[in-house]
């Protein structure tokens, strides 16, 4: 069953010099338990589509349905807080918070605080194959791969079924990148997440369940 459905989504914006029609009617249905790759040239609209799916913006035409409900009718903050977790290329961890605090931050947004949250953070850190010792460290003290794992732990701490990743291996070496993809694949296959990865890295495509290409504002499944 599709957890996220994109229906005829159109989106254009004005850059410094021209009008860009980023999405010209994209339609697709993403299902739980699968790992999707979103590929395309630079400026093809990958990130635009990702931001629309993450609830950071609304489509100008068409709609995005999460579990059958249009995001246009939702409180986008709540949607992001509870349903759509995003992993970024630059990890985007709070530099002044420890790993534990970073991971528990989304929980606190949902009122899940205290020891329970910290125990949950410990579980999640273990789940992303990091030792407990990193919990009290600051992001700046970790390697890139470790930081991205923390970011994944934070993303899944939201208990959402939709995991969006924007070039998650962009800042990592091949080995670390591969591990992250494997981790995301495990999350999709074992935990039933719908994981959508926007990437340029062709090496990771074989590990994907489905590959979608965006070209000329349209999405095609490859």
């Amino acid at each position: 069953m599709a957890i996220l459905e994109v229906k005829n989504v159109k989106y254009s914006y004005r850059s410094r010099y021209q009008q860009v029609d980023a999405l010209r009617g994209v339609s697709y249905a993403f299902e739980e338990g699968l790992l999707y790759a979103l590929v395309g040239k630079s400026g093809s609209g990958k990130s635009t589509l990702l931001s629309l799916m993450a609830g950071l913006d609304l489509p100008q035409e068409g709609e995005i349905l999460f579990e059958g409900k249009s995001t246009a009718k939702m409180d986008l903050n709540r949607y992001r807080r509870e349903n759509a977790a995003v992993i970024y290329q630059s990890f985007r961890l709070f530099p002044l918070l420890t790993v534990s605090e970073n991971v528990t931050y989304p929980m606190e947004l949902r009122g899940f605080t205290g020891q329970k949250a910290r125990d949950r953070a410990k579980e999640l850190i273990q789940k992303v194959n990091l030792p407990e010792t990193v919990l009290d460290r600051f992001p700046g003290m970790l390697s890139g791969g470790e930081q991205q794992r923390v970011a994944i732990a934070r993303a899944i701490s939201m208990d959402s079924k939709l995991l969006l990743a924007d070039e998650p291996t962009g800042n990592l070496d091949t080995e670390n990148g591969s591990r992250i993809i494997e981790l995301l694949a495990d999350l999709a296959h074992k935990d039933g997440y719908c994981v959508i990865v926007a990437t340029h890295d062709m090496d990771v495509l074989p590990k994907m369940d489905k590959v979608c290409r965006i070209q000329d504002g349209h999405l095609f499944e490859v």
Binding site: S51, L56, Y79, R80, R92, L96, L97, E101, G140
Partner: protein
């Protein structure tokens, strides 16, 4: 050309930026050009003023001879010789361009004879007289002038009266030589009063007798009388020669008191060469018979003891001097001849007269000089700054110039900021373009051309149009400047001693120049190109993007277990913020303390300004039209009383010359011994009496004053007075009569001690309303003080209270007219010493107590002391009833045993006494009262005579003597004072005083349409107030800028600080954190940091004794407000930005 073309294209293709900067540069050029134009106009005007106006400070010695410019003052010479007055030190003070001493000599043109009123001593004469006869009617000898050895007017062959010779042994058949002084009265013959001539010839003092018999009727050739005549002639025919390095800076020319009617002053070459040229008065030109261009042979006499002290008659050889200018003579400068200073002559080191020298000052630093030089002046010297009105005219322009400097500096700063932003946006943001050009093989020159042409194109067009706009607005702005300066020139200068100078005017008429605008535009274009070039250089250096530094891990401080929500994140951020947290707190501390310092500094100046008046004593004086002389004036007492009644004055001291006096002798000495004095000789004849009065006018004055300290003689020095026990200066104000202060020199010479009673003969006493009536009289005065002489004359000072009761409430003090009668609160009338010569009345003063039935004290005195039969030594004459003493219109009296035995008993027991008692509106009233009896003087019965009240009332118009409001109106108009000195109650009332002075009929010196001038000595105060005001004004202007700057700093830094946290905000947004939560998280963090910083700063400020004023608290609040506003705006802006763009590193 390609890079230029591409550069311009790049501008055209970013129209938003281009238009913004076009207008910014246009506005800045216009403002900058206008600022420069106004600054140039103001500076030019100030330069013109500096040339047009000349400030000098005239140094004068207010010594014994002041204001006689012909007398050599030993005191001045002593001060200069001893170094008490350090001229060299004063001349080296800041602001002095040079010092010009008063160098003068006695000049003489051989063969000239002057008879004008301005000669040195017009009346002195040496004559040979024959055919002397005694004239009873005139009480003088009449003779024929056989020869005139010297006289300004030649009376040879005419008759002459010779006075004061009634006791002389004159041989009427002999021929006499006389020295003395002529007097021309109403008689057709001149009168000569023989006087000895005291001369210091060579090294011996010669004092030839006033007359001598000539053997054979011929005066020997070597006679000393011929020398006397020669000296008289040289003094009177001579003139004052002034040697000057620059005549234009001498007071008479600088103050335009002397106006050239012909020719010119000296030129630079004549000064340099010490040329034989001169500028003379029209009067002397007439005496010499010369005009401009003609020569006159002049010889000079130099003597250290004053130019008129002709010890050896040694004159230099005649040298022809060419007259280059002729001025119109005035009373003050009748016969001065100005000459370029020359090394050829060596004029006297010490000046003759009171003018010591002139400091030529830098116009802008005269106040500074005055403040420093005043502190160096010893007692008796006066320094007067005369700036021709420069201060009033230049002050607002100087203020404006200072403001413009600040304005231009701020403009320059703004220009730099705008240019930096401009360059950043146009250059730094195009780094990629620059690198692409380099990568494609373009040289650096091409890259520079690309960017500079782009920036230059905008700057050129904008600056050109800005210059045109500025030029169009110029006339309006300059008109506003003129109005502004005009407004500030209307400073109230009335009565101030700071503005005694003549006022010259110089119109503010700036000439604008298009070049200035072109220059401003060119400067701006050059600045744009320069700043852009710097940015291009920096851009080219950054070939590779900065490697992103890995942020250092924060210290693990604090635990989050007990915290949650937005406060948790804010506190963790504060705790772990490290440098960022510390920087915010430190900045808040610094700015809080800085604001405290700003308000405190401003307050210190304001406090000083507020308190400056507390310790300032401002004095003032009535003056002549020039505002300098304060003696011998005619000041209506009514105006003074009105001034006093305003309540603004702390004290008002006045003085009036009562008469000229001649010391008769000692009536009683300190030990109480009394002496019999012969009646002084008073001529009875009309002409001889007239001549006597003329002689008396040469005698020193008897002055009534309310204060010696504030008398004109002591205005510039403190008097040294020794008082008789029980007396002090207040006695001059109190109802004391018959007392006096004598000069120490006189007391020493005459053997007078404190407590002695002296008798003086006076020439005239002119009662109010009875001018022109002359009386001769003697007064007996108790000597209660001695003072060190400050003036040439041996003035006697007595209380003024009798003239009009300044400082008393109406009805509490009686008005007594000029000492003739004092009238105390107890009702006692004391006849102080009036004598009517030839009346046959008792020739001794006595005290009279006229009883007043309306006076309760007198009533009690009657009942309890005088009327009972227990009166000591009571003898009631037969047929008399003692009770008649209280009967109306009885005209009776009781006299003391002493009076009776001394006079009446000797006369055969007269039954009445006749006295002559003066009262206010008349010369006096003769009172005859029947003597009822005799009493013995006791402690209670102290008067010599007790007169019945009715008789007294009938004769003396008792009520008329009471000082009432009505009296003020009726009597004061008749009174005139000769000097007035006042002290202001509070310096803060200065403006009110100016108005009050104007309301009371006084005018500022220099006005020609009035007679009563007043000067307020407020220069020091004004300078201090002005300096403080200027500092406050500058600080206020600067502070507004600094306050705004502080606000802007707070706004910008807080904005940027939050901006640097955009990724955190984006992450939060990405995770769906509520907007309010995000806002409050960061806002709370900033609020807490700010609170911490401000509290610490405030605590520090308070701890170190800083003042906490409402303004300070407001400023802290404003600073905090700005900081929080900056934070809030920044947070709000970040929450509107594209979160994904931030999170995806695409921004």
């Amino acid at each position: 050309m390609l890079p230029v073309k591409n550069g311009i294209r790049s501008v055209l293709r970013s129209p938003g930026k281009a238009v913004l900067f076009f207008f910014l540069l246009l506005s800045l050029t216009a403002v900058l050009a206008l600022g420069l134009c106004v600054y140039s106009a103001v500076s030019g005007y100030l330069n013109d003023c500096d040339v047009y106006y000349q400030t000098i400070a005239e140094l004068e010695y207010i010594g014994h001879s002041y204001p006689d410019s012909k007398v050599f003052d030993e005191g001045l010479a002593q001060s200069l010789h001893s170094g008490e007055l350090d001229i060299d030190a004063m001349a080296s003070l800041p602001g002095v361009e040079r010092y010009q001493p008063n160098r003068s000599a006695l000049g003489l043109v051989a063969g000239t004879h002057r008879s004008d009123v301005e000669v040195y001593d017009r009346d002195c004469a040496v004559i040979i007289v024959k055919n002397l006869i005694w004239s009873d009617s005139t009480e003088a000898y009449l003779g024929i002038i056989q020869e005139t050895l010297y006289s300004s007017t030649d009376y040879t062959g005419k008759g002459v009266f010779l006075s004061n010779l009634q006791d002389a042994d004159i041989d009427t058949d002999a021929v006499y030589v006389f020295t003395g002084r002529f007097f021309s009265g109403s008689n057709s013959y001149p009168w000569l009063t023989p006087e000895p001539a005291y001369l210091e010839l060579a090294e011996e003092t010669v004092s030839p007798a006033p007359y001598a018999v000539l053997d054979g009727g011929v005066l020997p050739e070597d006679s000393v009388y011929r020398t006397v005549a020669d000296i008289y002639a040289a003094r009177n025919n001579g003139f004052r020669a002034i040697f000057t390095e620059n005549a234009e800076v001498l007071r008479p020319f600088q103050q335009e008191e002397l106006i050239l009617t012909q020719g010119r002053l000296f030129d630079a070459e004549e000064y340099a060469a010490g040329a034989h040229v001169c500028v003379i008065s029209n009067r002397l030109a007439s005496v010499f018979g010369v005009t401009c261009g003609q020569s006159v042979p002049i010889s000079f006499h130099f003597h250290e003891g004053g130019i008129y002290d002709l010890q050896d008659m040694s004159f230099t050889d005649d040298v022809p001097f060419t007259v280059v200018g002729i001025y119109k003579a005035t009373a003050d400068f009748p016969d001065w001849v100005f000459l370029p200073d020359s090394k050829e002559y060596d004029p006297c080191e010490y000046p003759t007269g009171y003018q010591v020298g002139t400091f030529v000052l830098d116009n802008d630093r005269s106040s500074e000089f005055y403040a420093a030089a005043s502190a160096m002046l010893p007692n008796g010297f006066r320094l007067t700054v005369l700036d021709q009105g420069y201060g009033t005219v230049a002050e607002p322009f100087r203020e404006l110039q200072s403001i413009l400097r600040i304005f231009l500096a701020v403009c320059a700063l703004v220009v730099l900021c705008v240019l930096a932003l401009f360059s950043f946006l146009f250059v730094s943001r195009q780094r990629e373009a620059a690198q692409t050009m380099l990568a494609l093989g373009s040289g650096k020159l091409h890259v520079y051309c690309y960017f500079l042409s782009a920036c230059g194109a905008i700057a050129l067009v904008a600056s050109a149009l800005g210059a045109v706009l500025g030029r169009l607005l110029e006339s309006r702005v300059l008109r506003y400047v003129a109005e502004f300066s005009q407004k500030y020139q209307t400073v109230d200068t009335r009565f101030s001693n700071e503005y005694l100078s003549v006022t010259r005017t110089l119109e503010f008429a700036p000439v604008s120049s298009a070049a200035l605008y072109l220059t401003a535009a060119a400067i701006l274009v050059a600045a744009v190109l320069a700043v852009c070039a710097v940015f291009v250089g920096k851009t080219l250096k950054k070939k590779t993007a900065k490697k992103r530094k890995k942020a250092p891990a924060p210290k693990h401080t604090g635990h989050s277990s007990r915290l949650h929500g937005r406060l948790k994140y804010a506190l963790l951020s504060i705790r772990r913020g490290g440098v960022r947290t510390a920087a915010v707190v430190l900045l808040a501390v610094i700015l809080t303390v800085f604001l405290g310092q700003l308000t405190s500094t401003s307050d210190i100046y304001r406090e000083q300004l507020a308190n400056i008046g507390e310790n300032t004593v401002i004095r003032g004086y009535a003056s002549n039209s020039k505002g300098l002389d304060m003696k011998d004036l005619v000041i209506p007492a009514k105006n003074l009383q009105e001034l006093y009644d305003t309540g603004l004055l702390h004290s008002l001291d006045v003085s009036r010359s009562l008469a000229h006096y001649r010391y008769v002798g000692l009536v009683s000495d300190t030990a109480g011994n009394t002496y019999f004095l012969d009646e002084p000789y008073i001529p009875r004849g009309i002409y001889s009496y007239e001549n006597w009065l003329n002689q008396m006018k040469q005698e020193p004055e008897w002055v009534a004053t309310t204060s010696l300290t504030n008398s004109p003689e002591y205005f510039y020095k403190t008097p040294s007075v020794t008082w008789l026990e029980g007396y002090d200066e207040s006695c001059l104000r109190g109802p004391q009569c018959g007392v006096c202060l004598l000069p120490e020199t006189m007391m020493e010479r005459e053997g007078i001690g404190l407590g002695s009673i002296i008798r003086v003969l006076i020439d005239t006493l002119t009662p109010p309303g009875n001018y022109g009536t002359y009386e001769a009289a003697t007064f007996d005065l108790l000597v209660v003080g001695s003072y060190e002489l400050a003036a040439a004359e041996e003035t006697i000072y007595s209380p003024y209270e009798c003239l009009f009761p300044i400082g008393t409430e109406p009805g509490t003090c009686a008005e007594n007219d000029a000492f003739r009668m004092l009238y105390s609160h107890s009702g006692q009338v004391t006849r102080v010493g009036y004598r009517e010569y030839g009346s046959g009345a008792p020739q001794e003063d006595f005290t009279v107590h006229v009883l007043d039935e309306n006076n309760l004290e007198d009533e009690a005195f009657y009942q309890e002391v005088l009327l009972p039969d227990t009166v000591p030594g009571l003898q009631v004459f037969s047929g008399c009833d003692k009770m008649d003493l209280s009967v109306p219109n009885a005209y009776c009296c009781m006299i003391s045993e002493e009076i009776y035995e001394k006079y009446l008993y000797a006369l055969g027991g007269a039954h009445s006494v006749t006295g002559y008692i003066l009262y206010t509106d008349d010369n006096g009233v003769e009172l005859t009262a029947n003597i009822l009896g005799v009493f013995r003087k006791t402690d209670e019965l102290t008067a010599d005579v007790y007169v019945s009240p009715t008789g007294y009332k009938a004769s003396f118009l008792w009520d008329a003597y009471r000082y009432t409001e009505a009296d003020t109106q009726s009597k004061l108009p008749g009174l005139r004072c000769q000097s007035a000195v006042f002290t202001l109650k509070s310096a803060y009332d200065l403006d009110a005083l100016r108005d009050a002075l104007a309301d009371c009929g006084f005018t500022t010196p220099g006005s020609l349409d009035a007679r009563n001038y007043m000067v307020i000595c407020d220069m020091d105060y004004n300078v201090s107030v002005r300096t403080l005001n200027r500092q406050i004004q500058y600080l206020d202007a600067l502070y507004i800028f600094l306050y705004l700057l502080t606000g802007v700093i707070a706004l910008v830094i807080s904005y940027l600080l939050i901006l640097s946290r955009k990724s955190e905000i984006a992450i939060m947004r990405g995770m769906g954190t509520q907007r309010l939560r995000i806002f409050l998280t960061f806002f709370t963090e900033q609020l807490l940091l700010l609170l911490l910083g401000c509290v610490c700063g405030f605590g520090l400020w308070y701890l170190f004794g800083g003042a906490v004023k409402p303004l300070y608290l407001c400023l802290i609040a404003a600073f905090a407000g700005c900081w929080l506003l900056g934070s809030a705006v920044s947070i709000a802006r970040l929450m509107r930005s594209k979160a994904l763009a931030v999170l995806s590193d695409r921004e």
